[in-house]
Symmetry: D2
Subunit: 343 residues, 4 copies
């Protein structure tokens, strides 16, 4: 059994890790930390876990975590970077669900996250944990930077097109929509149901932190420079991301359906839907699956890709478990082979 620890167990990615790992046959969660809820039973805070977890929250200090084989950081940004070095030195593998190790360029990181990075020397070593692009590196990684939710949905949609070099990478558009759980479980006015229910709006149009992350990764795959316009929106639902992606095609005679199906043929968690389909976030609810459709409306110059994930699973905790499975040599689908909760 893999001994696992979770730092920051009271946010949505934390409780989702607890849900997934409770059903994982080869993991034993031994430590869950929370500064605010220290001493409380985990299932007193999360009644959905009653009967599945007998732990109490402990303080988020290194000593509590060094006996673990793997530690997940489900913390706000700028926390994992303060504990990473000591844990790595203690031979603990780390999977960081926050943004601390996603950007390779520390200057870019510090500009977008408004803080000084505590261990820039680890950025090079950190592996960006998108299995569909970095599987081999993940196998041997000690420190995995789990991708953001928007970046996951967006990259999986653009990936086959950029690799095949069939789109103009200088005018990519990602119009992305997220359920409200993406904003986390912190008290706020903007997250109130009275504010975010029965309404729809964009946010962060001038610039969102996921933009440099997506740009960095897409640029690595692209033959030519990438220029991306990224617009996140808030949907009055809890779980789910829908990325609607646009790009000008270099030529129009390409069989895009075939391109996507071939590209993802062996991927356990990317499901290319039949031609003409419109994926629905409701079909991947609770699962680690990305469902994708590719369209060329009216046979024109623009390709439209529709990509849906559950932001808390494939966009966060499920992908983290997937990364753990790869790092520990398990079957990749272990603990993640669930049917979407429809309706």
């Amino acid at each position: 059994m893999i001994k696992a620890g979770i730092v920051g167990g009271t946010g949505y990615t934390g409780v989702e890790l607890l849900r997934l790992l409770a059903m994982h046959p080869q993991v034993d969660v031994q430590v869950v930390t929370s500064r605010a809820e220290k001493g409380l039973r985990v299932d007193a805070v999360y009644p959905n876990l009653r009967g599945f977890n007998d732990l109490c929250f402990v303080a988020p200090v290194v000593e509590n975590l060094t006996a673990c084989d793997v530690v997940f950081f489900a913390t706000p940004n700028a926390t994992a970077m303060t504990m990473a070095k000591e844990l790595l030195a203690a031979d603990v593998k780390l999977i960081d669900l926050s943004a601390d190790f996603r950007l390779k360029d520390v200057t870019v990181w510090e500009k977008w996250y408004g803080a000084k990075h505590a261990c820039p020397e680890l950025l090079e070593q950190a592996v960006y944990g998108l299995p569909e692009t970095n599987r081999e590196l993940i196998k041997h990684a000690d420190l995995v930077a789990n991708p953001g939710c928007y970046p996951t949905a967006t990259q999986l949609g653009f990936l086959p097109l950029l690799k095949a070099n069939v789109i103009e990478s200088s005018m990519l558009i990602a119009d992305a929509k997220s359920g409200v759980s993406g904003a986390g479980r912190s008290a706020s006015v903007v997250g109130l149901m009275s504010e975010s229910g029965e309404s729809f709006k964009a946010y962060g149009v001038p610039g969102h932190r996921h933009l440099p992350e997506i740009s960095q990764e897409l640029s690595q795959l692209s033959a030519s420079p990438v220029s991306l316009t990224f617009t996140p929106h808030l949907v009055p639902m809890i779980r789910g991301i829908h990325a609607t992606l646009y790009a000008p095609l270099k030529e129009t005679g390409i069989n895009l359906q075939d391109l996507f199906e071939t590209f993802y043929a062996d991927e356990p968690f990317v499901d290319v839907l039949p031609s003409g389909a419109h994926p629905d976030t409701g079909d991947v609810r609770g699962t680690n699956r990305c469902q994708i459709a590719v369209h060329q409306p009216q046979g024109g110059q623009v390709v439209t890709v529709l990509s849906v994930i559950d932001n808390l699973v494939k966009g966060a905790s499920g992908q983290a478990v997937h990364n753990m499975n790869i790092m520990f040599g398990l079957d990749e689908k272990t603990g993640l082979d669930q049917v979407g909760l429809y309706p």
Copy 2:
């Protein structure tokens, strides 16, 4: 492996059976019927099942089902009764999720369901499939009448009180609230999100079909005659039932918390919450669990019980799988041991 068939695979209880059975290690679903979708792949209609189910819908005729060990009816009312006799004669065990076999008195059934019953002679033999009251009968049953969603949440809340004879059974009130999936997957105006979203209303106050079912079952458990006022309401959410139950106490010095905890100590799917708790339908989403709290507001004469279930799982398909586990001698929790999808 148990060979299972599902009649009426295109409604919500049908697709929920498919979801649960896809993750059940000892069941192989071999037949799924649908009059309307005959010939179509199941996962073409339900993309959440892609990769989990390779079947095509077949016609709902007896010949297609006689090789099954068990057949689930996830059909509208008045369908199962037309096929039950032939299937029983072919040694197929039946679990009917509709109302055809729930009422013992055929006159009452015909009054509330507005039809002539096709096989009243089977009503006596049918076992009402609430495991918490009828476990022993279910073990040996060939025909199980799976309880309704409201009746499940309501009975589990009143049960400990009636058995202990501590309430006046002549003035029971069940104020029940259901998510919209309870109305099924048929085209309707009233079920449109424009109608049922952002609004709340009662329905069926003069009389709802679940009233005689609840009354029949509670009367069997009660020392004195039962008189119940039952008010169903429609909640703008998809899954979940919350029953708020009221009854006058015969005496006020009873330890109600202890009464409930003791009563349900050995039940795998009823979870009595700590004193003072308020169960939330969101904590049992996707699971076969009933979470219950009992209150005596201001130490007064009225006991208030709060009982929540997922109407499609403990209120329908999960309870059906539970019944199947009991009928086939499996561990009761097989395939049903899942964590609620929160948030």
Copy 3:
């Protein structure tokens, strides 16, 4: 034109007052206070008011308000009581939407609100602003305690029955459900859409602050002592309250429909629906109207009343404007004659 001031203009009852008064032909809102947003334009915080309001928020101090004819307190509890005396001394009429002046017994108030009352001497003078019971007193009042949202829906439902003395007042049950805007516009975890969306739960079952308010008022109308069990629930919608009320009938031959229709025949904002109806919160959205239906299920011993309001209008700001109309001798419907926003 009536010169109006609003203290606490950034909560939901405050912005709703601004909406209603912007369309009121005889009121000029001259002052809106907010401690937190002082100096900001009102329509910068509330873009729905662009073009209807050119004011900036000012500090909530007495000097800013003494030139008003009427001041509305849309503040948290325990604020109005600190400014009321000085404003009354300056001949300003006050309408308090908070709970400071609703209870006559200062001991009861201090127990439920956990604070020392700042001006208990005003409690006697304050008029409870439910026009349907206190119209004459309101006409001459200087200080009106605007009722709570649950108390409004609940009292209007029980009122005709208690006045006619046809129910046992010793076992009243009010099972009430509210949209999330009732919790106000303060940052909180419990109010997040991720928490309150797609779920349903009761709260405050051991005791809610609206219980003593309802009990006080119903007791005044009832010939015999009132004992009420009150259960509030949170509905995943923004606006609306549905109160489902139960009481044992003293006799069963009463024409309840006629009783209600006669009782409310002249009330401009209470609409008794036809026999057999189920009122829907969606039909009164945005309006000052209470829609009510009365049922006697199966002709039995229990009367069931269904009463719906918009908690922010008839349950708060609309009722406050109604009270103002009465206090200033205007036609009661002035500024309030709007059609419900359906769907």
Copy 4:
């Protein structure tokens, strides 16, 4: 008083017309037709109209409508065209909220709407009723084709850019999102809350009927040929459209904020938000207002416009009333000067 008739009074645009006209001081609705509800009181079907409308539905035949000054068609497509000629001959002004008269080219219409047009000779005479572009024509029109909801939000966003000739019209992208009321009030599976709640999806990506309408109108305003990719999505809310629009800028030094503010300075129902804003559909709920913001993310080559309306008001019935006001020489804001229902 203007005598008005409404054909098709039982759909959402019909009941919304009834709501708006009930509060319009110069209109008297004298006829409301419905084939299905003929003979029923209007307020028996729509309890929100109780007290505002005493009519009964009558049959949708020409004789019932010839005494009207104006008739609104709130019907499914292909109905208005069968009655238009006779009503025009009877000197009735017509405002068609359906698509029958929106396209100038009958071939295009017949291709997209799959029917033979009943009176192609009226297409030339019909005025496309977007007041912001066609005010002068509308003044003298007898037959107004009221724009679609998506086309309204989309055109208002692209209009200032195309008129100023600052964008490449050959690569326009309109990523549009609509609440579910846009699908109307017909029984359907896809519109069930169980299907459309808590989920998000695109639809009609290969081609949607609003595409030719938008293309036709934008082409008239543009100096160069227009090529538009249009992607509609379904949002789990009832009312509201959010169009997110993208276009390559011809040059980057333009003051876009100023361009938009100047362009719409005199428009009563288009509100350009301050620089940096993100309009929210919730702020225009129930109103005839379009709120717009314009962004140039990272000062790059792509302009992003955010445009929100209430699909049932500015996207349908409110715009129809606006057109009526213009046709009858009334102040344009008459009956439409309402504050958005927030929250």
